[in-house]
Amino acid sequence: MTAVAERVVASAAETFARRHRFRWYEALPWLVAVAGYFAFPDYLALGSQILATILFALSVDLVLGYGGIITLGQAAFFGAGAYTAGLLAAHGMGAPVIGLLIAAVAAALVGLISGVVVLRTHGLTQLMMTLMVAVMLHEAANKANTVTGGADGLQGMEVGPVFGLFHFDLYGNTAYFYCLAALFICWFVMRRIVHSPFGRSLTGIRENEARMHAIGSPVFRRRLVAYTISAAMAGVSGALVAQTTQFVATDALGFERSGNVLIMLLLGGIGRLYGAFIGVPLYMIAQDRFAAIDPVYWYFWIGLLLVLMVTFARGGVLGIVDRVGAVLRRRR
């Protein structure tokens, strides 16, 4: 090899290695989360819901943003996790962390089984298939009222203290840190995944499926794995909400949940890991503030925000950050 070629290879390797090195701004969400605990002790209940929803949005980002799988049925996994955690707690197994793990496994199974069918399709058909899975589970939960409590929701959940030490309190202290810890672990795993060769191949499949087939990448299997991991994450998110609320009803499987999370992700930016961390708080805090001022017409302001973002800020908030960054670099 010539010296020049060696240098090119080395610099390419350097670029790839640099890609997954931690940067200072990646600590920001966690610093904000901890600061938020001390700055807004009255908002911890909202805070823990935001954290759980960020995790849900992350799970969507993995399949939609990285895998290019268009889904309107992510609530199926959220609900599977929520009902698993709920049923465990209602039948005397209220240890939260174990519940969380079992919920992840249960949701992953739902993801794996439905993924085998859903991922054989493409485009609009795929969209409808994901939706259908969620609708079917929703109706199943409604009908199986001896198990799930039907439309009135699951009765008698008793969630124990975390590690036998920390009770879920009225102020939401425990819930906040519990959700934060779960989110941190899932984020760490997801970050490793998207920067791994597996993650790069997912992006490859999203960008050019035919080419990935041509270079021998097992496209279907890669997608199925991503879909299953994403389902497990959504399941953890559902279990978090179920455990901190100590209640599950069929809305956990509802279409609105799948739809809203897409909007939040769009606001933040799709396919960039941190879109969820910006879009979800933006949406939920805006909703909370607008709804406190005007409980009837807050939807209007959310809608306006969305229209403005879609019209003027493709790629969400992170898209704006990118463009500003690019302009600054050009100036230099």
């Binding site: 209940a45 819901q49 009225l170 100590q246 009803a249 809305d251 409980p295 939807y299």
Partner: protein, 400 residues
């Protein structure tokens, strides 16, 4: 100079004194209202809010001297137990409310129940109808109804009036099953029987195949429950298109199908249909006439109050009664003692009381017929089942 300074201090001390004295003289009772204000499921929430707002507006002068009421409204966005529970937590820990009211949908109220127990926070449920709800916390009272409570008298009436072989069609979710259950208990109690039942999907309101099946079977009567709103109009249309009335099948139903706010959209189709309910805007009681007049004055002549509105109104009446009896200062336990012994004859819906044992409502259930009054459809009450208790609780108490 010296004089000026003394004068300045005097004013300052007086001002400080006034500021300090003010909260002691004026008691502010904070009432947290959680209901559905936005989204497709909002109409009952809005109706509830109108009812309770109107009561608060008209009765602020009745409050004890120095007591003011602050209503803090929160939107639970629909069937969203996680949101409702969070809002309840926030109202208690952040806004420091003294009492909570509202809630349209049962899952939301059920998720809130443990919070009420933990915080010893009185909660006046103004709609959520799951029978089990009031057993979930000693800090809950309900001023609405349970589906069994409404539909059982309908069954009894049907059996007594020759419609003793009934087919039931209900929405396939918990309230629908409750209605089916209550109707069956009622009709069997008086020697009738249910000859067949079908449950229709909640989400897919094409009722033709279900009603066609009923038509083929020709039962004497047909009992329907669907949630009040666009679905009820759709159901009435299908009932008309299939000509069930001419086939000799008499429709009996609950107030949900013929909810007052939806009646104007049904043309003349429901004329003559008999239903059971806790409230009709057409009732001729003086208290109701005064209420409806006040409603029209506030919200316009075309706006009709429905049973959810009256539940908001009565819920606020209960809270105001509590404030009057305590002077605006009460703990959770003191409040529950008063709320659970609440009794009135002055509600627009007639007399009702709270059962001190269960916290659930005991009220008149009226049998009504749709008639035309001044060119508008109205549910005209013609028979009363006085002071009906929730049959679900009686059955479960007996089972124990």
């Amino acid at each position: 100079m010296h004089v000026q300074r003394t004068w300045f201090y005097g004013v300052a001390v007086a001002a400080l004194g006034a500021v300090l004295a003010f909260p002691a003289a004026a008691e502010t009772v904070k009432i947290g209202i959680i209901t559905t204000y936005s989204g497709p499921l909002a109409p009952p929430g809005i109706s509830m809010d109108k009812g309770l707002t109107l009561y608060a507006k008209l009765h602020s002068k009745d409050l004890p001297k120095g007591v003011t009421v602050e209503i803090i409204r929160r939107d639970d966005t629909g069937i969203a137990p996680d949101v409702a529970k969070r809002l309840a937590q926030e109202l208690i820990t952040r806004d420091h409310v003294n009492i909570i009211g509202g809630v349209v949908y049962s899952p939301n109220a059920l998720a809130m129940a443990p919070v009420m127990t933990e915080a010893k926070m009185p909660f006046v449920d103004m709609n959520a109808a799951a029978a089990v709800l009031t057993t979930k916390s000693p800090y809950i009272v309900r001023d609405s109804f349970t589906l069994q409570q409404i539909s059982m008298p309908m069954g009894e009436w049907a059996a007594k009036h020759g419609f003793n072989q009934a087919y039931t069609v209900v929405s396939d979710y918990a309230p629908g099953w409750d209605a089916e259950d209550g109707f069956k208990i009622g009709i069997e109690h008086d020697g009738g029987k249910v000859v067949g039942s079908v449950r229709v999907p909640v989400q897919n309101p094409d009722f033709t195949p279900f009603l066609q099946r009923v038509k083929d079977l020709k039962p004497k009567s047909l009992f329907i429950f669907v949630p009040g709103g666009p679905q009820s109009t759709q159901m009435m249309k299908t009932y008309n298109e299939l000509n069930l009335k001419k086939a000799g099948i008499t429709l009996v139903t609950t107030q949900d199908l013929l909810i007052d706010s939806e009646l104007p959209k049904m043309a003349d189709i429901p004329l003559g249909v008999v239903s059971s309910g806790s409230y009709s805007a057409a009732a001729t009681r003086p208290a109701n006439k005064a209420f409806v007049t006040a409603w029209h004055k506030e919200y316009g002549a075309n706006d009709v109050p429905d049973f959810v509105a009256i539940q908001g109104w009565d819920g606020m009446a209960m809270i105001y009664d509590l404030i009057k009896k305590t002077g605006g200062k009460f703990t959770g336990d003191e409040a529950m003692k008063i709320l659970k012994n609440y009794k009135t004859t002055e509600s627009p819906r007639g007399p009702f009381m709270i059962d001190p044992l269960t916290g659930d409502i005991v009220q008149n259930i009226y049998i009504r017929r749709v008639e035309k009054i001044d060119g508008k459809l109205a549910n005209v009450e013609f028979e009363t089942f006085p002071m009906v208790k929730d049959p679900w609780k009686q059955m479960h108490a007996a089972a124990k």
